[in-house]
């Protein structure tokens, strides 16, 4: 769930959009292509909502590539990243069944990944049940 901070307006924020990327768009891509695609979207001042999630190795590479870009791209200060998964409290059997289904389908569809440029997204507060996006003003 994405929420605007209660009682506060968006203020002077302008020039960003929210882009949804279905997993099918990256299913057949390799890690390099996935990360490139994600960073292209984020560098264009978009908040990306990705169906599914990257592997932990890809997440680490995304962080590494992000760091390599800071200082080389004007006004880029990094990203805010959060993943919320629908199966946190699931039983072992449920996880196994879902794991097999995900392996066959090629991704964890119960998860949602949100990635935004740090110049727009001040903070992503995550708890097991929701993600709260706090935007820069």
């Amino acid at each position: 769930m994405i929420e605007k901070k209660r009682g506060k307006s968006l203020g002077k924020i302008k020039g960003f959009s929210i882009q949804f990327l279905p997993y099918s768009e990256i299913r057949d891509s390799n890690s390099d292509e996935r990360i490139k695609k994600i960073l292209e979207i984020v560098l264009n001042n978009n908040i990306l909502i990705l169906q599914g999630r990257l592997s932990s190795n890809e997440e680490a590479r995304l962080i590494g590539d992000t760091m390599a870009m800071i200082g080389h791209i004007k006004n880029f200060r990094g990203i805010e990243l959060a993943v919320i998964s629908g199966n946190n409290q699931e039983s072992i059997f449920g996880k196994m069944t879902r794991g097999i289904a995900n392996a066959l389908a090629g991704g964890d569809f119960s998860a949602i990944t949100i990635i935004g440029p740090a110049t727009i997204v001040k903070e992503m507060k995550r708890n097991p049940k929701k993600i709260e996006l706090l935007l820069n003003q």
């Binding site: 680490a60 590479r61 800071i70 200060r77 990094g78 995550r126 097991p128």
Partner: protein, 213 residues
């Protein structure tokens, strides 16, 4: 044939003897300002008399990987030799303007930010080289930070044993249960690196974890 069996038997014995005396690469990972260097310093100071690095209230004080080799830790009559590897804090964003709040010049802040980004890259690269990892988290912060989840996910994928340390238990806002709830599959040890609280439990867990390598 009997010669071959005999040879293998001795090879196994000698390799076991060697492995028990080898240095275990112990990495300290976590977000910035969680107390990685404070904890590594405390251990190094206790067992070698020297510290590993400097600590500061300003985030990203550690901007390159720091080592201390041949640190022999003694606990309840047992001894183990570690190579301590203190890594820069992993973050998804670094804004030089954040450092200006600490009365730093713009030039120094920019330089610190640049070094900090390189430090994060270095930390990630080093993940492959660890034998065991202590993930140090600030017990007053929200543990559901994606950086924490990404670090632990990478260690699990590499089959590297993990111990989660909830640091700063001396603070009023400390809530170790939050960390335990966020990572129920891992052992969480609450400590205060600053005051040396509960380090006995920490050493016990490290020795236990070392057996999993």
């Amino acid at each position: 044939m009997p010669i071959k069996i005999f040879k293998n038997f001795f090879k196994r014995i000698f390799s076991n003897l060697f492995s028990s005396k080898r240095e275990i690469k112990l990495g300290f990972y976590g977000p910035p300002n969680a107390g990685k260097t404070s904890l590594a310093n405390r251990i190094c100071k206790d067992f070698t008399g020297e510290e590993i690095g400097t600590v500061s209230k300003i985030p990203h004080e550690t901007r390159s990987v720091q080592f201390k080799e041949k640190v022999e830790i003694s606990y309840k009559g047992k001894k183990m030799v570690f190579k301590m590897i203190d890594t820069p804090g992993i973050a998804t964003k670094i804004d030089y303007e954040d450092f200006l709040k600490f009365k730093m010049s713009k030039k120094d802040a920019k330089e610190r930010a640049k070094e900090a980004t390189q430090g994060v890259i270095e930390s990630i690269k080093w993940l492959d080289d660890m034998d065991i990892v202590v993930v140090v988290l600030d017990v007053t912060e929200n543990p559901y930070n994606q950086v924490n989840i990404t670090i632990i996910g990478n260690l699990v994928a590499r089959k590297i044993p993990v111990l989660i340390v909830a640091n700063k238990i001396d603070l009023k806002k400390a809530d170790i249960k939050k960390i335990e709830a966020a990572f129920p599959e891992y052992e969480v040890v609450g400590i205060s690196a600053k005051f040396g609280d509960n380090l006995e439990e920490f050493y016990e867990s490290i020795f236990k974890l070392s057996k999993k390598i």
